[in-house]
């Protein structure tokens, strides 16, 4: 019996570790075969690797790949910090205060379906292609999901928990801080996760429309210069950073909401 289950366990471990590796291998094999038969459409992995090295030896727009990645990241981070502060604050306000919800709720219902990228032309027409419009675009794209997730989480609080707060002598601020916001934290975190992935997408889209530095600008540059390897280098970097951000957030959530994982 014991041996059976430990045997099953081994099989399972092999599957869980083996399958992702297999998937990656298949993609690479597919990539190699495809690039071998259609070199004009797809550079080989080796070419992409060479191009990757070259981004360090021959800087583009005066900076290396790292500089470009940092340019994108910095824009996102600045915008996100502002969006978190305002979005979460605003979400708490309209989740907690019925009047605020009545007033702002419908506005958000209207703005919500607009994809962040749709703001790009408007923002570029108003503010050009400098740093500010890019940060603004990310802010617009992340603010709305943050407000919606936060306020939904705040509204989720159980009435009986509010009774507990009042019976045990809490005032409004204390109940908000000790009971309501912690209840909403997992939902707020869902908002933060969405904001990071949507912010990351938005900044790249904005950079593709015009920027000196940034991973998005590398994509455009490679595209216009028919340098497909450069496009792929940028795209892979974008994917890796996006995945890293997701992992960091996951760990952070375990620290901030320990009751969910313990």
């Amino acid at each position: 019996m014991d041996r059976m289950s430990s045997g099953q366990k081994t099989v399972r471990t092999v599957l869980y570790w083996g399958l992702p590796v297999l998937a990656v291998l298949l993609i690479i094999v597919g990539w190699i075969t495809f690039s071998a038969s259609h070199p004009d459409l797809m550079p080989a992995p080796v070419d992409v690797w060479d191009r990757f090295i070259r981004t360090f030896t021959r800087p583009i727009a005066k900076t290396t790949l790292i500089g470009h990645a940092w340019a994108s990241l910095r824009r996102v981070l600045i915008a996100l910090l502002i969006a978190w502060a305002f979005g979460i604050g605003f979400g708490i306000l309209i989740g907690w205060n019925r009047k605020a919800r009545a007033f702002f709720g419908s506005i958000f219902e209207v703005i919500r379906p607009i994809p962040p990228i749709a703001w790009i032309p408007i923002v570029i027409m108003w503010f050009g292609i400098g740093e500010f419009p890019k940060v603004l675009l990310v802010f617009i794209g992340t603010f709305v999901p943050l407000v919606i997730n936060t306020s939904a989480g705040i509204e989720m609080v159980d009435k009986i928990n509010l009774h507990v707060g009042r019976i045990f002598g809490g005032n409004d601020m204390q109940i908000l801080k000790e009971i309501v916001i912690p209840t909403a934290l997992p939902s707020i975190f869902a908002g933060i996760r969405t904001s990071v992935s949507s912010g990351w997408t938005t900044v790249l889209a904005a950079e593709m429309m015009g920027a000196q530095q940034g991973l998005g600008s590398l994509v455009t540059r490679g595209w216009q210069g028919s340098d497909l390897s450069l496009v792929l280098v940028a795209v892979i970097t974008i994917a890796v950073i996006g995945a890293l951000l997701a992992v960091i957030l996951q760990q952070l959530e375990k620290v901030v909401c320990p009751w969910n994982s313990k």
Partner: protein
């Protein structure tokens, strides 16, 4: 019952819920007194307005009619001298055991060391020593119920309301908790309103039993109990009392 000081008087309390489908009367003209220091048991069948009544007494819900007199004065709204053990537990899932227990003390602005010490005292009292840093969902139903009890004790209310606090416990634990509760009550004399739908429990614990009728809740009978404690559940007088009450009880208890 030496002391007959009235801590609370409930006068003609009624509660009707109105909805689109019509209305539903949960409490119908209930009046009774709560004496200072007594262990008052409210015994009534399920889904019949007991919890609603307690919420009104604690001031988190409004009555449709009637009034509540506290220490001789009419009282409206939240009463800071009342603490409550909730039937639905209502623990904060995001707080550890000790954080749940110290909630009222934190609200009062007590310093951390001080409130932790008090919280630890009551955690020990309900037998949860060693579980201070657990989250509620890591505990069994019975243990969670004890957290709710410790939280209410720690708030040190003058009037403690307990809404079917032992409902989720198995028989063994239930007897143990009844014993413990009486011990605590005798040590730190405070007024208790204890709600249950268990006749034996009511007879075992109460100074008086207020028997409620089937829906809507009305006071059917008040039984003062003179059997000295600790009560023997198989003694003649205990069984007699139990039979008298159960004969007078609406079927659904």
């Amino acid at each position: 019952m030496e002391q007959q000081v009235k801590r609370m008087e409930i006068r003609h309390l009624s509660k009707t819920f109105f909805s689109k489908k019509g209305y539903f009367t949960a409490i119908d003209d209930v009046s009774f007194d709560v004496y200072d220091g007594e262990f008052l048991v409210i015994l009534g069948p399920g889904r019949c307005g007991k919890t609603v009544m307690l919420n009104i007494i604690a001031g988190v819900e409004d009555a449709t009619e009637g009034q509540i007199i506290y220490n001789g004065k009419e009282w409206k709204g939240l009463n800071p001298e009342i603490g409550m053990v909730f039937q639905k537990l209502a623990l904060m899932s995001f707080k550890t055991v000790i954080e749940n227990v110290e909630l009222a003390l934190k609200f009062r602005g007590m310093k951390k060391e001080e409130r932790r010490e008090i919280a630890r005292h009551y955690i020990k009292l309900v037998g949860l020593e060693g579980f201070e840093n657990y989250y509620p969902k890591q505990l069994s139903g019975g243990m969670q119920q004890r957290v709710g009890i410790a939280r209410a004790y720690a708030a040190n209310p003058k009037l403690l309301i307990m809404d079917e606090p032992f409902g989720k416990l198995d028989a063994q634990t239930r007897y143990q908790m009844q014993e413990d509760l009486l011990k605590i009550w005798e040590k730190e004399k405070r007024t208790i309103i204890f709600v249950t739908n268990n006749i034996e429990e009511a007879c075992y614990l109460g100074d008086r039993i207020i028997l409620l009728s089937d829906c809507p809740a009305k006071v059917k009978e008040v039984y003062p109990i003179d059997i000295p404690r600790p009560r023997d559940m198989v003694s003649r007088e205990f069984l007699e009392l139990r039979t008298t009450i159960s004969d007078n009880t609406d079927l659904s208890i």
